[in-house]
Symmetry: C2
C-alpha cells in the first residue's frame, strides 16, 4: 500500500492518499480545493490513477476539491448518505469500498456532524473531525451532538485494536498521527471521562463559528463546485 499524508497549512487540514502499488489505483481522502494542483501533480509523478475521492463529512472550514478531481480524472466521489447531494456513491456503516486490491471499511461516527464517517484501511483509521489527536471535533453546528460523538468514539473507534493508527482531519499542534491506545489513555476529553462529563465540557466551550462556514458548507454540498454568480437580467 502506498500512503501519503498531505497538509493544507491555511486550514490545518490533512488530506490522505492511499494507493494499491500493484494496480496503481488511488484514493484521496478529504482533498482541499486550494491544493488540487499539488495533488494532481503528485498523482502523476507517482504514476497513479485516481479512482475514488472519499469525504469524511461535509466540511465547514475548507472547500473540497472533489468535484474538480471528478471532472479532471473521472474519479467517483464517496461519502455518507446523510450528507452532500452531489456524491456519486453514498455509503453507510459496514460498507466496504475498494481501491484496487485495498479494502476501505466505512464506519459511521456522527456527532461532529450528522454525516461524519471514519474510514479503516489496513490498520490505518481516518477519523475526519470525529476523533482528533488529544481532542475531538466540535459539536455546535451542522447537527452536531456531543452525546452522539462520545458514543461514536467510545463504541466504534475505541473498540479497535490499540495499535490502530489514527489519522485525523486536522491537527493544530503539529502532531501527524496517534493510535487508538494513545487516545483511549491520553485524550483529555475522553480518558476516564463519563458521557455526561464530555457533554458538559463540549457545551461549556464558547467558540466562534468557523470562518468559512457560510461559504464552505453550501460549496461542499456541491462537492466543492462553487456556484457561478447569477446574472441579474
Amino acid at each position: 500500500m502506498l500512503f501519503r499524508q498531505l497538509f493544507d497549512a491555511e486550514t490545518s487540514s490533512y488530506t490522505y492518499l492511499l494507493a494499491d502499488e500493484a494496480t496503481r489505483e488511488a484514493a484521496l481522502i478529504d482533498p482541499v480545493l486550494e491544493q488540487v494542483e499539488r495533488d494532481l501533480k503528485l498523482l502523476t509523478e507517482l504514476g497513479l490513477k485516481l479512482v475514488l475521492v472519499l469525504e469524511t463529512h461535509v466540511h465547514a472550514d475548507h472547500i473540497t476539491s472533489a468535484a474538480v478531481l471528478r471532472e479532471r480524472t473521472g474519479a467517483t466521489v464517496v461519502a455518507s448518505a446523510r450528507g452532500a447531494p452531489c456524491v456519486d456513491r453514498k455509503v453507510g456503516h459496514g460498507d466496504v469500498v475498494r481501491v484496487g486490491g485495498l479494502e476501505v471499511k466505512v464506519l459511521e461516527t456522527p456527532g461532529h456532524t450528522d454525516d461524519s464517517l471514519s474510514f479503516l484501511c489496513e490498520g490505518r483509521l481516518f477519523t475526519g473531525d470525529a476523533l482528533l489527536i488529544r481532542a475531538t471535533g466540535r459539536t455546535d453546528f451542522q447537527n452536531g451532538d456531543a452525546g452522539q460523538l462520545y458514543d461514536s468514539i467510545t463504541r466504534h473507534l475505541f473498540s479497535l485494536p490499540d495499535d490502530t493508527v489514527v489519522y485525523p482531519g486536522h491537527d493544530y499542534a503539529g502532531h501527524a498521527l496517534s493510535t487508538i491506545g494513545e487516545e483511549r489513555n491520553h485524550n483529555p476529553r475522553l480518558a476516564g471521562k463519563t458521557r455526561d462529563a464530555f457533554i458538559a465540557f463540549m457545551k461549556d466551550r464558547k467558540l466562534p463559528p468557523p470562518k468559512k462556514l457560510d461559504v464552505a458548507v453550501p460549496a461542499n454540498r456541491a462537492c466543492g463546485r462553487v456556484a457561478e454568480p447569477r446574472a441579474h437580467s
Copy 2:
C-alpha cells in the same frame, strides 16, 4: 521502531521522534524551542526516555530546544564537528549513533551549511535542509556552497536505494515525505540537471535573509540556550 513526525507551523519545520520500542529509549531530530513542552509531554505519554538529540545543522530559521531538553532529560546532544561548540558528541561521515537497539548512520551532506548532516535509520533518511521535497536548501549563507550541495545530494543521497524514505527538515507545500527514487526523478533542481546548471540556478535566486538569522545562529551555536541579558554594572 516507534516513529513520529512533528511539525512547527510557524517555521514549517519538521521534528522527528525515533524510539526503540523494546528499551523505550528515544531520540529527537531537530526539535524546536517553542515546541519543547509538546515534545516532552509526548515522550511521557508514550513512556519513552529521551537519550539523544540529533541536530542536522546549525539552523538559521528557528531555535533548537536541544539545551533545554538536555537539562530536563539528561539527553546527549549530537551534531557535526563542524558546527555548534555546545554539542556533547561531535560526529562525522560514517559514524553510527545508537538509540537502544536502533542504529543511526551519519552522512555528511554539506552545501546548505558547512556542518549539514543527514541521518539514516532503517530505510528512513532525515535530510535536514540538504535535500527537500522537490527542492533543496538554500546556499547563500553560513558557508553554503551550491556545488558542494549538488555533490552531497547526488553522491551520498541519490546513491541510496529508490525506496529510501526522505524526511526533510522543512516543507512549505504540505508534503510530509518523499523517496530517493521520487527526488532523483522529479526534483526540478536536480533531475536531469548538471552540476553547473544547479550552481547557476542557486546563484540566480535572490532571497531575503531568513527572518531569524541574526538571532537563531548564535542561539543554536549554544544549543538554543539564549543568553541572559548582561547587567551593566
